[in-house]
């Protein structure tokens, strides 16, 4: 039995090493995976803070660092013009919001004006999948805050 356990653990280590090697190339995603915005709609006009809800078909959501098959975590790209590099981790920064905990929605508050939003699914190492699971880039218009506030609630 001891030998069996040892073999099993060796096998486990082997698999772990293998998965590490595999992780260096792009992680595969099913061809029918689809990433989309539940809200807001493309072209929507909004005022103040709003909720962005992420939709994903035929794949699952997991935490960053987890390499569970057919699952990844969301990244929200705000006003990002430059293309993503398929082999590089999705950058971190103010325009690249990461949802490594497996979150599927967020609150956004953007300055008034036109903005673009795009979702990208990242693997355990924050890299895009192959084929890339990416939403359509939507445009929203944030309206300036109302000049006059309604009077006190009576």
């Amino acid at each position: 039995l001891k030998e069996f356990v040892m073999r099993a653990s060796l096998l486990g280590t082997g698999l772990l090493l293998l998965s590490c090697v595999v992780a260096q190339s792009q992680t595969q995603a099913p061809n029918d995976a689809e990433l989309y915005f539940i809200s807001p709609r493309d072209g929507q006009r909004l005022r103040g803070a709003f909720t962005v809800r992420f939709g994903l078909s035929n794949m699952g959501v997991t935490q960053a660092g987890s390499s569970w098959a057919n699952s990844g975590h969301h990244h929200l790209l705000v006003d990002v013009a430059e293309p993503l590099h398929p082999n590089e981790p999705i950058p971190s920064g103010n325009n690249y919001q990461h949802f490594g905990g497996g979150q599927t929605e967020t609150r956004l508050q953007l300055p008034p004006g036109r903005h673009t939003l795009q979702l990208v699914l990242g693997d355990a190492e924050h890299r895009p999948f192959e084929p890339m699971v990416i939403s359509r880039k939507i445009t929203i218009h944030v309206l300036p805050p109302l000049e006059r506030r309604p009077g006190p609630r009576r």
């Binding site: 920064g93 990461h98 490594g100 905990g101 006190p152």
Partner: protein, 551 residues
């Protein structure tokens, strides 16, 4: 600027129309009864760390603070109400960790009244003060009530909810006074709820929302300059005299003899951005070092260290000489005491620009390298081993991983290592300068390892630690290379940020602050003022850290 506004609040005996903020501690006798010394100490701490800075930040003046109640006057009712909300939020945030019976809470009332200020006696006289006191007594603990006069001035300016409590007949006041309760708007309540863990959510609901209510104002204005915002009250008082100039604003601050309103000073200095805002007490002028030609890896070998010192140009700052607490400890550089203007006007997250005093501390010359990290991993104190050559910065490090390293380093060296606070990081990164980068306002080659910032550049990995130029404090990679975790919890703006250089904590914190940008980010993100937040538990290949310790 007219003479009138230069004499604000200081002309003894003269009548002035002022916003009067009166606050009273709830259950003072009860708290003193249960823990006299503890309550006094906490009260003094609130006074020193929350109330006084908030009043100064909102151009007010603390007139009278005898123990459990205090009175402040403001030229602008809007600033007075903002100040009240900031104070309530910050005070309540401190309560969250404590049992309800030991909460320190204040009732706050704000009134607008024609009063007489006697600066020498530290007193304000007039009917307006009595009305403020009566309004204050009607507030619930942690609440802010305002009079109709204040409401009329701020209703279209401060994006909050206002609940009318109707006309109140107040004790010993002839005419009834209309009272409003200041409420955060429903949207900010929802936002506050999302930011906090469920356990502390309810306690934070009201307080977080109050902060959002204040913070919403600069945020919705987007990139409108701070100068417009903070100078507007003075402009209003000065009548049609037009925009206030920098020197006049400074003169006002100096002559009035009270704590200089820091954001105002920053705004006034805004035009002359090359003027150093951070003046370390230890050094005089700090000539920036030219970029280094050779690549010196952050090796632990004394030889390499010797080389690095030789490579440093002469005439550099006192902080240049480094030291190590142990053989495998990262090299530290002494950062002198000093004050600086934290933040910038480039991004809403970097505002309001505020003055921070930083105490002398030690900061690592370069980020923790793979070689340095390996010692912790081999000691089985760090659970994760980043890839890369020994002189590469350790990356793919979460904030939680970084905590493992600093606690191991503290245990093995006997010194108290920690992450730098966000304020310490920016102060050290600026190195006594206030420009966009420490060397000036434009990106130059060989200064920083970032995208589009010149050669050498590798898309796949950052350069070795200490490859780019050293700043006036002798620090490398304070911008570019890898993003660096600091101790603070992420807050979307600096509204109500501490001014003493300590980390800004929050209960149930999920996101921590990252500084420096990285080799993957553009020139914009490697400015000393640039900041972003990220989940503390998540690793990302562009994130690492450097260590600090106090003296």
């Amino acid at each position: 600027m007219s003479a009138e506004s230069d004499t604000i609040l200081i002309n003894n005996g003269q009548r002035r129309l002022l916003a009067i903020l009166l606050a009273d501690m709830v259950g003072f006798s009860r708290l003193m009864g249960s823990d006299e010394e503890g309550t006094l100490a906490r009260m003094r701490r609130n006074q020193r760390e929350i109330i006084e800075p908030a009043i100064a930040e909102h151009y007010g003046r603390l007139v009278n603070a005898p123990g459990d109640s205090w009175l402040a006057v403001f030229e602008s009712p809007l600033e007075a109400v903002r100040c009240a909300l900031v104070i309530q939020q910050a005070v309540n945030a401190r309560n969250v960790a404590l049992p309800r019976t030991s909460w320190i809470q204040y009732r706050i009332g704000v009134n607008l009244g024609d009063v007489i200020v006697d600066a020498s006696e530290g007193a304000v006289y007039g009917d307006g003060v009595n009305v403020a006191a009566r309004i204050e007594s009607k507030a619930e603990p942690g609440g802010v009530l305002i009079s109709g006069g204040v409401y009329e001035q701020i209703k279209n300016k401060l994006v909050c909810g206002y609940q009318s409590l109707g006309d109140e007949k107040l004790k010993n006041i002839t005419d009834p006074v209309h009272i409003y309760r200041v409420l955060p708007d429903p949207a900010s309540v929802a936002r506050a709820r999302r930011r906090h863990a469920p356990g502390v959510m309810t306690a934070l609901l009201a307080t977080g929302a109050a902060a959002a209510c204040v913070a919403a104002y600069p945020a919705v204005l987007g990139h409108r300059s701070v100068a417009d915002l903070v100078l507007s009250p003075f402009r209003g008082a000065a009548g049609p005299s037009g925009p206030q100039t920098g020197p006049a604003a400074e003169a006002h601050a100096q002559r009035s003899g009270w704590k200089q309103p820091t954001a105002l000073a920053a705004a006034a200095n805004g035009a002359a951005s090359s003027r150093p805002a951070a003046v370390p007490e230890a050094g005089g002028s700090l000539p920036p070092n030219p970029p280094r030609e050779t690549t010196v890896p952050g090796s632990v070998q004394p030889v390499a260290e010797q080389k690095r010192r030789e490579a440093s140009p002469p005439g550099s700052a006192a902080g240049q000489r480094g030291f190590r607490d142990c053989e495998f400890c990262p090299e530290l550089v002494e950062i002198p005491n000093g004050k600086f203007q934290m933040g910038s006007r480039e991004d809403a997250a970097e505002q309001p620009v505020h003055e921070v005093a930083v105490r002398r501390f030690a900061l690592a010359r370069v980020p923790v390298s793979v070689g340095e990290w390996r010692r912790c991993f081999e000691a089985q104190a760090c659970g994760f081993m980043p890839a890369g050559p020994d002189n590469a910065p350790a990356r793919g490090i979460s904030w939680n991983d970084a905590q493992q390293y600093v606690s191991w380093l503290s245990r093995t060296s006997g010194e108290r290592y920690r992450l730098p606070s966000e304020a310490e990081w920016e102060y050290a990164a600026r190195g006594g300068t206030s420009s966009r980068y420490w060397w000036g306002d434009a990106m130059l080659p060989k200064m920083v390892n970032c995208r589009g910032c010149g050669e050498p550049y590798d898309t796949n990995a950052p350069l070795g630690v200490g490859s780019a130029a050293a700043n006036p404090f002798g620090l490398f990679d304070m911008g570019g290379g890898i993003s660096q975790w600091v101790a603070d919890c992420w807050h979307a703006t600096y509204q109500a940020a501490p001014s003493d250089g300590t980390p800004w904590e929050a209960p149930g914190c999920r996101d921590r602050v990252l500084r420096s940008g990285s080799w993957r980010t553009g020139a914009d993100a490697v400015r000393p003022a640039s900041r972003t937040g990220y989940e503390a538990a998540i690793r990302h290949p562009s994130h690492g850290f450097r260590v600090a310790r106090s003296f």
